[in-house]
Homo-oligomer: 346 residues x 2
DNA sequence: CTGAAAGCGCTTACAG
DNA sequence: CTGAAAGCGCTTACAG
């Protein structure tokens, strides 16, 4: 910048203005400065700028993984919404471990992000403290907590699970099960657990008992998880007629395992997934699922942050944005009665 | 930091040392400083540290998208390899546009990354200039260019395409086609195009003509792309007996469309994908594909950078690391002769 | 419309 | 083992 100012015959202050507020500088001076910038190939140093202005234009996003299309979509939505306001995303992966989340928060805070986005509402005690004390906006995403740390953008996983159960009941099914990964490992999918809890609650309310939940294998759920979980489930309950899988990945795994075992879907088994992944539309039959707009979660979060950071609104009200979910009925579910008869006769 | 030094009764220099090189400080002073840090909840400001030390410990990675498991795996591998050395990844998405890549490079350079990772070897002229002039290591990934800007970690997409063609020829197929997305849009997958070029070259060398390449639909390839491309292909060449898809996503789309149309795989059609995505192992039959270790590309890149940045080895030799690829034979491919007969008789 | 001064919070390079 | 001084490259807040 010194070099540019000397070449243009102005102060560094004027160079800084040309870059930040060009309209404050006379046209003649401005073009002289721009020419000098061009000639020297000058690139401003935003580290210095950040230190001076006390704003980094960084936003930190801490997600379970990027190897899940839903979270990748959220990251992409966030990136797009923040780009216009010139914010750069710093992404960290927890691999579904809250200890790792705490480590990441500690590693990120010294970079002085202008805002912090974390997936989920379950944190270590220390992480919660750090987030509460951070003097920047915090947004918890992929849930709608009753008591957010600050802001939240998501939907109710519990209600999504309830919706899946109500739907399978409405089809007339009674031997209903759910599959998800284990809840005893270090890696935990608390949002998935919420969905299964809501699912089981509806079954209990219907007097069916919500105990038929196979929790098996490591987080995160995968195609392979679904395939193996079906085996465990059938050993335990050969007469199961409907399954809710905690994720479309599991659900597709269940479906493929059904193909291999000669179990007809939906004639012998109704199947509901969660997440509306691309693959669910392509498999045969296409997968019934609960759709969540992951990209929108990212976008809304980005928009919320741009507003909060723009208006320097220190006193902004904590907001909880619910983007909702919807049940998408496709080919893997069917009413109960005809199926059970055909299966028993078989 | 001032507050900490006052509370501990030392200079800020000593506080800095406790954080950076604890062993240089006497145990007694150190514990006094650590107590003060604890008591005040002090978090160092790395922006100031970066400005002062002229090292940010940022590495910029510019990828086509994160919505593709392969690139997400690469990002995860990079993150893991860099974490140990305390580097933070700044990720940008180009959505397969080199103009967007240039924009991202311009946006990232003022953040003063210690190294730059870009996917691919095709850049705008201005982007190439910026990368050449950047006085930090540059690594091009997912290709093995003959003339890298600096370093490279990847494999030969052209050779991968050749391997697919040689394999289908070895099965006895002669009516062979390939499907990939369009090459005329703004978004381009140059690596996919290289694979198709290698594929077509082998067919030409075998005297078969390499013209049966369906390039249809927007980049990136998807399940949906594959499903639609098969329709276009069958209109053009109803007697096709083997297909190479530029990506497993397309390949699975082709497979599902075959299911819907009653085309038997592999009896009526042999199918080879690329990328070895999880879903390819789960579909029925399981997908024959070309496997690339995307995570390893990220890991090797990270290791290379840690070495380069550690030894302050300004004079380090440009390295090109080839992680290779391998053909994984599964259920979607079969020898030609029996199939053609059965199909004709049908 | 333009500039001189001070300072952001660290680390480098010395000195003792 | 510890500290005083200088400086990293910008922006803020004034002043003119």
């Amino acid at each position: 910048m010194r070099d540019v100012s000397r070449l243009a015959g102005v102060s560094t202050m004027t160079v800084s203005r040309v870059l930040a507020d060009p309209e404050l500088v006379s046209e003649e001076t401005r073009s002289r400065v721009l020419a000098a910038i061009e000639q020297l190939g000058y690139l401003p140093n935003r580290i210095a700028g950040s230190l001076s202005s006390q704003r980094t234009n960084f936003v930190t996003a801490i997600l379970p993984t990027l190897t899940n299309v839903n979270f990748a979509d959220t990251a992409q939505g966030l990136t797009e919404a923040l780009r216009a306001a010139d914010y750069q995303l710093l992404i960290g992966y927890t691999t579904y471990r809250i200890e790792e989340e705490e480590r990441l928060i500690r590693a990120m805070l010294p970079r002085r992000p202008d805002a912090i986005v974390v997936a989920g509402t379950v944190h270590t005690k220390a992480a919660s403290q750090l987030l509460l004390r951070a003097d920047v906006p915090v947004v918890e995403i992929w849930e709608t907590p009753a008591h957010p740390i600050n802001h939240a953008v998501g939907f109710s996983n519990y209600e999504a699970g309830r919706a899946a159960a109500r739907y399978l009941l409405s089809l007339g099914h009674r031997h209903i099960a759910a599959v998800g990964p284990s809840t005893t490992g270090e890696a935990r999918d608390f949002r998935g657990e919420d969905r299964l809890a809501g699912f089981a609650a509806v079954l209990r309310e219907a007097g069916i008992g919500g105990g038929l939940v196979v929790q098996h294998g490591d987080v995160p759920a995968s195609f392979d998880h679904g395939a193996r979980a079906l085996g465990v489930l059938l050993d335990r309950a050969p007469d199961v007629e409907a399954v809710f899988a905690v994720s479309d990945l599991s659900a597709v795994g269940v479906l493929m395992e059904c193909h291999r075992r000669g179990i007809r879907v939906p004639q012998d088994l109704s199947l509901v997934g969660f997440g509306d992944f691309d693959i669910g539309r392509q498999v045969v039959p296409a997968l019934t699922t609960i759709r969540v707009d992951a990209h929108l979660i990212g976008q809304r979060t980005g928009e919320l942050l741009v507003t909060l950071l723009d208006e320097a609104a220190a006193g902004a009200e904590p907001a909880v944005v619910d983007v909702g979910f919807s049940l998408v009925e496709r080919g893997t579910t069917a009413p109960a009665a005809p199926r059970r008869r055909s299966r028993r006769d078989h």
